[in-house]
Symmetry: D2
Subunit: 164 residues, 4 copies
């Protein structure tokens, strides 16, 4: 039996309502398409809302947590992977996602995107801003895609997965 296809969603610990709504839609779209959602697993910002969106559509959610226990975990994680390795767990997320999707930007998100690009992965940027788009495209242009909505993201993910 082939393994499930995992899509990673990363993003900052933001309280911006628009970004949280976007993350919810992104998680929902990933679950509806039949993919497993992987996030950093915490009860904050993008990780939390993407997981809630995926669960709302009956999807499976995996959280690769930085800590050694479930104390900071989102309530919407089905499978907690307790890495105990802090920000080094960003590399686990970058490697385990077939595609890495960012909703918004911050230092941790930038690390995850950079590690994904280094591992040869495709990334999709949603609302990361022009500076981030310009920078990541300057590193590895063929691996960097930009979307404005969850629907556009899904088209890009399917396109990337079909050509692998």
């Amino acid at each position: 039996m082939a393994p499930k296809t995992i899509i990673a969603v990363v993003g900052p610990d933001t309280q911006d309502q628009k970004l949280q709504d976007l993350a919810y839609d992104v998680g929902k779209a990933i679950a509806e398409a039949g993919y497993v959602l992987l996030t950093g697993g915490r009860s904050l910002g993008i990780m939390d809302y993407a997981s809630k969106g995926a669960q709302s559509a009956g999807g499976l959610t995996v959280g690769a947590l930085p800590g050694q226990d479930e104390s900071e975990m989102s309530t919407a994680i089905d499978i907690p992977i307790l890495t105990g390795m802090g920000s080094a767990r960003n590399n686990v997320i970058a490697l385990s996602g077939r595609v890495v999707v960012a909703c918004g930007i911050g230092p941790g998100t930038a690390a995850e995107l950079s590690l994904a690009l280094k591992a040869g992965k495709h990334v999709v940027l949603l609302h990361c801003g022009g500076d981030a788009e310009t920078f990541f495209r300057s590193l590895t242009p063929a691996q960097v895609h930009v979307a404005s909505t969850a629907a556009e993201m899904l088209v890009l993910i399917r396109s990337v997965l079909s050509t692998k």
Copy 2:
């Protein structure tokens, strides 16, 4: 929604038929009890057979692989977590399993058991031999349990989980 309960199964890359059969039964029993199985994910020995046993009962299998890709992965892994961190992934397995079960012993298995004990986890030893039983009991006696069969293991897991 509460996260699923993850049970980790560890053991050597053995070709011993009896240990492989035991691992298959162990994986099957874990899945039948409704737990998610977590292993090191490779297509070798205990990891492989436990995952096959779990899938035979319709269970969900997670593999925390040492490498950066799926090249060494068991065919019975549903959710590949690519850690890219070699044997340091042993700590991810030790932390993420609510209980850690060993089928047989070897240096890697000994590391996983030791890290589990250090993290305060309960471990169940199946066919690890008297030297291992004596040693691990000398470290943290209250956390070390011994079983001979998958059925005995399940009784111990349920007992441990009910008292947490």
Copy 3:
């Protein structure tokens, strides 16, 4: 006795002669100032030349290597730390350097800089290009500094260390 002050130097596996010369000067300046140099330890590009520069001035060089052995190690590493954790070792470099200096840019370097900023560290960018400067400044402006030469870098490092 107080621990030695460690300065991390990161950068791509470049064959660009100008960047290699810059890395050599950067390593030399760090050693002459009495700091320990930390790099990714491989025999490639910036890591290699910075280590050679530091050794030329009698400095101590530490390499946090991605692999499990010394097979890819620069000949100019005094203390090999074999992490065996691939690109996740980028976080070890980001955490262990009191300041993180980048000579040129690439996906791995971008990950190290991002992880350093996330950990609250100051970074110095040399010849990373305007896109990188604009992007990293957009993340955490107070932690990002730009220099053109090893001498300018040293002034920035001393300034940063004196205000901590």
Copy 4:
């Protein structure tokens, strides 16, 4: 220039005076022999005393710390490597030591010894007790050595290094 030879010393967070004295002698003997000492770097038990012993003989001490800062660090560490990866840093210690020496035993020490054996390293056990000696010898007999004193340990280290 060849890299320095690193010897790792591991052991529990013990307050046993005899074990602490032994660790001090072990660290001192390693430094006097010209090796670099690597420990887990914390200000507790064996790590702390071995580092103090090494510094007393003018040796260089490296600490691979579990945390992200120097808050728990032994005062006798020259080069702090901040791994931020908790107990997974045990694998960094196991890989980076040319030989791994244990003074006393506990779950964390057992993990480090097991990971060292898995990586093909030789280990020297001092005052680990008969249960540990029997168990580790049952795993990989040719890699496990037992000593009673720092002087005996040094003979074993030299013998192991000369045959590599």
